[in-house]
Symmetry: none
Subunit: 402 residues, 2 copies
């Protein structure tokens, strides 16, 4: 039995509230040998005080050495085994631009590319990284393509990337990508990997043929590729598994989208951390579980901006008292993965986690940071274990066996 | 999906270099209550200085309580799940004497035994532990046996042990052993456990019948048994999985053999640690991954010689600066398993591991030893997790999921 299925069977109702505060890409590294990590460098008196009353540790998002994308890292935080439950790339790309994906839609990530006009082989898989405005104009052009029996959506993402969504009856995933992953070869036809997907493959091939004609007089983006064709994975929904009313507060479309796939109510909120806190306050009485997402730690890490990441963490620390004043019964603070400014990308490192509830045994950790949490009482755990721990502390899990 | 398969899918190329330094049987125990372990007693200023810049921990070779043989312990270090990938005993025995095993060969471990001349039942399963020289003479005698359509090799190992290898088309494993595992019973016929192995079983039974005749006038080794009949397990090869040029530097045939099965290039080297370091230097530019094996820590542990094991560790410490001067990007120092002098055999204990790279968060450990590493930032991991961590630190793994 899947661990999630076991948790579902043990779940009981309660009036307790759980807050999962995720600073995206929280984990860091010393920028210089002997120096502090971002979280260690940040002045975080409120988190430190909470850590002193909490049990802390280090958590691995997926498995040792594996740097996760945002999809699997968040699924793990929500209690889904990220190696079993996967969200396809096309779906994530659609969620990332806030596209209102329906359960039967097929979504693909599109990449504009440059083709040799004579031979049709790819000469640049990213079409010289055309600006997003150019991509937006090309997407508008591609919206002219019609396919029998389905609705077609084409939306720009960023630079050479776009999203293609087909909507209609009987669309199936199980489709190969057109991108040959190297220059000097032409885009490949889409093949079905399951017989049920044959018609969908044929529709995508028709779309590709028409796109090629429409783009023929463009340059450098005179072609395109489709990757990661996928449907909503039909995850078990958190309200069913955990018997909680679950809400997500996140400013970025991707995280709002993943939360929606997991069955959370995605609350309207503003752009700032203060907006998110106000949203939390406004809906506090309506939900049992809140996923509260902070994006800018990750963005700063991706930019290699150690100091900006420190400042985002300090900003979160300043709003923490307002959050705690709402009186959650269980608080988890962690990140989805590490994004060390030194590495400038998602990384594989374990990252600090703090678990507070009336029903934990506090350890000796008095600072929320990598080195301190390495010595924490939670030891080294996996993200997927956090929800069961939170549920247990919230009095929402009954005994296993007699 | 197997974790190794997942790693293979995430592997990208890089110019970074990984060094895996394995002191065989490194892990130890206090010889007297309150005393130090072998590694703690050793004066290791270079390892300690490296530990201070590294992340350390304790690693379990296979699973708690399981003392591994050299085969599974090394497979785990190389990233293979040792419970899934097994090297048959016959193959390990052949590798241990440096036999040049071919992929289609069937290798068996042979044991000379004493039979009751009247009844044919076994009276001593080890033939009174006859000296190796006697075994060598008997093996020469057994080389007279010919079988239809296959080449036959018989090689002495040590005392009553020998290796039998059949080479030819269509040989298959899936064979029962002849050893009834108790005295008072005769050697058993070889049975196939799969239909494809029927001919191989028949050939081995012919060989056993002829061996019995040839040994009839010998004593005490007037019979023999065959165990662990096996073929090269056809492991996925490290250069394919990890996209690295992989080299092994080891003085003992067994480790050279296991490295070869894993797809490494086994470099010619001499008998001493200094020879091994020279080999490393000479080939540094040609490979991305080096498995550097030190045997004598294990031999000293097996002999129960605490002080000699300390001295071998100190010897390794003295050559460490020369190794580090080559500029590896990632260094792992550990053992394949513990061989505490107190236990005089391979044991099940966790053993210290040190991971250095520019991209780790150093912990507070400043001494490379059991007690210090128990408090290390890596926590308690498994050998099989070391290669993914090394690959990640080396920038050789891409993100999982989007």
């Amino acid at each position: 039995m899947d661990a999630l299925e076991r948790i579902r069977e043990l779940t009981v109702e309660s009036r307790s509230k759980i807050l999962l505060l995720v600073m995206d890409g929280l984990g860091g590294l010393p920028m210089t040998p002997g120096g502090p990590t971002e979280l260690e460098a940040a002045h975080t008196p409120n988190m430190d005080a909470l850590a002193a009353r909490s049990i802390c540790g280090m958590s691995t998002p997926i498995a040792p050495g594996i740097a996760p994308g945002s999809g699997p890292a968040h699924l793990a935080l929500f209690g889904y085994d990220p190696l079993r439950y996967e969200i396809g790339r096309g779906v994530l790309e659609a969620l990332g631009i806030g596209f209102d994906l329906q359960p039967q839609d097929i979504a693909a990530r599109g990449n504009f590319c440059t083709l040799d006009p004579e031979t049709g082989v790819i000469t640049d898989r990213r079409a010289g990284r055309i600006p997003t405005e150019v991509s937006a104009r090309l997407c508008a052009k591609l919206r002219a393509i019609q396919l029998p029996g389905v609705q077609v959506f084409v939306e720009p993402v960023k630079e050479y990337r776009f999203v293609l969504v087909l909507r209609g009856e009987g669309l199936e995933d199980g489709l190969t990508e057109t991108d040959p992953q190297q220059v000097g070869k032409p885009p490949l036809p889409v093949y079905p990997t399951r017989p049920e997907a044959a018609r969908t493959a044929e529709l995508l091939n028709q779309w590709m043929a028409q796109a090629r004609k429409l783009l023929a007089d463009e340059y450098p983006a005179n072609g395109c590729n489709l990757r990661g064709m996928a449907k909503d994975p039909g995850l078990p929904k958190m309200p069913d598994i955990y018997r909680m009313r679950c809400a997500a507060i996140a400013t970025y479309p991707m995280y709002r989208g993943v939360a929606k796939l997991a069955g959370m109510d995605v609350l309207p909120t503003g752009e700032t951390l203060e907006d998110e806190v106000e949203t939390l306050k406004a809906h506090w009485s309506e939900y049992d579980f809140f996923f509260f997402h902070v994006k800018k730690t990750d963005s700063a890490g991706e930019d290699g901006d150690f100091q900006r990441k420190v400042e985002v963490i300090e900003h979160v620390d300043r709003v923490l008292p307002d959050i705690l004043a709402l009186g959650p019964d269980v608080v988890i603070i962690t990140g989805d993965h590490a994004t060390p400014a030194l590495w400038k990308a998602h990384s594989w490192h374990e990252l600090p986690v703090l678990l507070w509830s009336r029903y934990i045994c506090p350890d000796d950790v008095t600072q929320f940071g990598e080195r301190a949490c390495m010595r924490g009482g939670l030891g080294h755990i996996r993200h997927v274990d956090l929800m069961p721990l939170a549920m247990a502390c919230a009095g929402r899990l009954t005994k296993f066996g007699a």
